[in-house]
């Protein structure tokens, strides 16, 4: 029952005993008999004796009974009211108890929450402390190891120091002994150099006096050496730098090319536009001065290369992931693996064969080196080889001799022919001279025809002879050839 109902029930006023004159509408002048009947019924239901006797319509009220009934009813009423009051009090008590219980319940719940939180916090703290403990233990272990290591180092350093000290002490003692010796010894061995004659300098020049000029010359030489070294190094570094820059630019171009040649999606188009932008920037910067080494250009180049490389890397990764997802390519790979394995087997077999071959070769070589006792057969073999060689040489000699003889003969013939030619030429010249002489001496002016004809005849004779001679010489030369 809700407290409000209880309250209303308890607040409900008791039956007004004193307000008798408040006329209830139950009984009026007209319905007295019905009322009497009704009240009798009610009383009988309550186990009271009826107040009215059932006589024939005489309103005969049994006053004693009625008063008893009224008295009983009043007592009942009083008892009921008392009981109600008690019940009300009890109800109040229990409701307040309940309320109190609720309050304590909620309070306890809150407390429970708090304690749970506290518990969690403590667990957490414990965990942290444990991890702290572990790290501290590790630190301790490390520190202990470090300490041991340092102790080892200290020990070795101490050994080294002791060794050094002992060595120095020994040397010190030796120096003291020597000093004593020198103090005691009477004759002093003088230092000196004996030389037969002084030798010239290795570069042939004379020694120079030490002056301020030579000193400055030495300084100058030293700085020259250093400078030339710096120059060399700088040159080398520059050359290297230029080469590396070229390589970087080429790499960048190639990367751009590779990325551009792939299928263009919108995103990639945008990227390529960006790339073109950056490319054009770089080109502008580096066009005029490809060897420019200002920081800005260098940074730009390296940044653009890094960018391109990142893009390429992403692209390759994407391709890799695509390839791994595609199932159809597996069979291809399997086949290629098989082929690969077959190749490997074949190559291994080849290698084995070659190895065996080489081993046999090696054995044979070893045998050759290690057989000293077959000297006789070796000698015989050598001899037979020698004989063969000799015979071959002999034959060749024969051929050479024959050829030489032929050459000799031909040469003789040629010389003979040449001698003969010479003789005949001489004769011809003599005859000619004689004939001319005769002609000039004997020719009168009248007989011009005769001598001319005679001259012609003579000439023809001579020319014939000349022809003969020419032909002979031709023959000789032909045979010579």
């Amino acid at each position: 029952m809700s407290p409000s109902r209880l309250y209303t029930a308890s607040v409900m006023p008791p039956l007004p005993l004193s307000s008798f004159n408040v006329s209830s509408n139950f009984c009026t002048e007209e319905n007295i008999s019905e009322c009497i009947l009704y009240i009798n019924q009610e009383l009988s239901s309550l186990c009271f004796p009826p107040i009215f006797q059932n006589s024939d319509s005489i309103r005969d009220l049994d006053a004693v009974v009625a008063l008893n009934n009224i008295h009983d009813l009043l007592q009942l009423h009083r008892r009921a009211v008392g009981m109600m009051e008690e019940l009300e009090v009890e109800q109040l008590k229990s409701s307040s108890d309940l309320h109190y219980q609720h309050l304590t319940n909620s309070r306890l719940k809150d407390q429970l929450e708090l304690s749970k939180k506290e518990n969690m916090r403590l667990h957490e703290r414990e965990r942290q402390l444990e991890t702290n403990l572990k790290t501290l233990q590790n630190c301790l272990k490390d520190t202990k190891e470090e300490v041991q290591r340092l102790q080892g180092i200290i020990a070795s350093r101490a050994i080294q120091y002791n060794h050094d000290i002992k060595r120095r002490e020994r040397e010190h003692n030796r120096v003291k002994e020597r000093l004593n010796q020198l103090l005691i010894a009477k004759k002093e061995n003088k230092q000196g150099m004996e030389v037969l004659n002084y030798v010239g300098r290795s570069d042939g020049r004379r020694c120079l006096w030490k002056t301020g000029k030579t000193e400055s010359r030495h300084e100058g030489d030293m700085y020259k050496t250093l400078l030339s070294e710096f120059d060399n190094r700088q040159r080398e570094l520059m050359v290297e730098n230029i080469e590396l820059k070229k390589v970087l630019q080429q790499m960048k171009r190639e990367m751009v090319g590779v990325l551009n040649s792939k299928k263009m999606s919108q995103k990639e188009e945008k990227q390529s536009n960006d790339m073109d932008q950056t490319n054009s920037d770089d080109d502008e910067l580096l066009k005029g001065h490809p060897e420019m080494s200002c920081d800005h250009a260098r940074e730009k180049l390296t940044n653009s290369i890094r960018q391109q490389w990142r893009k390429l890397k992403h692209h390759v990764e994407r391709l890799d992931s695509q390839a791994s997802m595609v199932q159809d390519e597996d069979s291809e790979e399997v086949i290629s693996k098989q082929l690969h394995e077959e190749e490997m087997e074949r190559l291994k077999l080849e290698i084995q064969q070659c190895k065996e071959f080489i081993e046999t070769q090696q054995q044979l070589l070893q045998q050759q080196l290690n057989t000293p006792c077959d000297e006789e057969t070796a000698a015989v073999l050598n001899d037979s080889y020698m004989l063969e060689e000799k015979e071959r040489l002999k034959e060749e000699w024969k051929v050479f001799e024959e050829q030489r003889k032929n050459f000799e003969m031909e040469r003789r013939n040629f010389t003979e022919a040449a001698i003969r030619l010479g003789h005949e030429r001489k004769c011809f010249e003599d005859d000619r001279a004689m004939w001319l002489k005769h002609q000039f001496l004997n020719t009168p002016f009248a007989d011009q025809m005769k001598p001319q004809s005679r001259m012609a005849d003579e000439f023809s004779k001579h020319s014939g002879r000349e022809e003969k001679l020419i032909s002979i010489s031709g023959k000789v030369s032909k045979s010579h050839l």
Partner: protein, 465 residues
Amino acid sequence: MNFSEVFKQSNQLCKVSPDGKYLATCVQYRLVVRDFNSLQIAHLYTCLDPVMHMEWSSDSLFILCAMYKRGLVQVWSLEQPDWHCKIDEGSIGLVSSRWSPDGRHVLNTTEFNLRVTVWSLCTKAVSYIKYPKACQKGVDFTADGRYMALAERRECKDYISVFVCDDWHLLRHFESETQDLAGLEWSPNCCVLAVWDNCLEYKLLLYSLDGRLLSSYSAYEWSLGIKSVAWSPSSQFLAVGSYDEKVRILNHITWKKITEFEHPATIINTKAVVFKEVEKRPVVGSEDLSIHQLTVDNSLFSTQSKYEITQLPAQVPVIKPDPDRANPKIGISALAFSADNRFLATKNDNMPQSLWVWDMQRLSLLAVLEQTAPVRCFVWDPRRPRLALCTGNTKVYLWSPAGCVSVNVPVEGSFQVLSLFWHCSGSSLVLLSKEHICLLKYILYNVSLSCHLIGILFRRHAVFL
């Protein structure tokens, strides 16, 4: 390839003249000069005491013989065998002696490093340099012979003096920022001087020719520091080997580290080739043990060896150093660049049987040679990228990018190769044992290369001779 006969020497004193024509050896107190090609004795000189140090002058005309016990230096002339020169340091003692680069001055360091005396063979002039420092490498000449750098120590501070070798004029004298200078070395282009501190502090300083500090490099603090330093022939790189088993390469432009080479005990780098020397004792049956065989055929006692390629990952044998001794045997003690700048050979002291070869173009490990005994000496060919090494047994080992080869020295009795060096033409090797020398001539690059190819082309065994 052929081996010459064996000659005597003492104190490992055997040097080839700078022009390559003569070979000088010292046998106790005698100096024997031979013609290199014919090995005939050209000159014979006698010194006053057993010779401790011998050096050719740069023009191959004079030889210096130093006898430290008596404090004497004798100089002999090749052109005029009658010429003699004797420098007596007297009671002041002698600790080291060397030529100047022009071949006409002798620099003697007296006992206790009291001073350096510069004796001239051309004039009567004598110069003295005070307070020289006694350290690993306190004097260095530039490659062109014009300048000399000398480390000095005055009042507990390190100084560096730069002299002009022409007239011994002091060009620069400046304080060095090292705690205890251990060494200095000029770069091959004569413009930069690398100065390093001793092992208690890792500090490398780079000074320019005129004394300015160009840069300072320190890889770490407190632990033992630099053990060895080498310039590359082109002056491009400076390799610094340290006690932490790493080599750091600095570049000549910024003087910052470009890379560091580690020497791990397990090699997992797949591009490197690990050559392991495998010894094979010849199996001897009882009928072979005749006296004839024993005396004539010394191959009975000499083991033959060849190289095998080990599969990666490979383990390198490590020897832990004694922690209670000074200068522990750990760290990179030897570095050498090849003449063409392309390769760097390193030796790590706690892996004494291994030699590491690095490719300078790729800045990565190229090969590891694992020998059966600690590597004693390794030298690059002065002309070609070829490395010769010895481990104190009777073999010489050659490595080139094509492969490696082990060559047995066919000498009666055993010839333990303790050190070796190349002739300046790169076609011959001089091998030194305790008391003898032997020459290995006409090592043609192509011949050895073909031998390598037969063996190595398919990564199998190498040919042994």
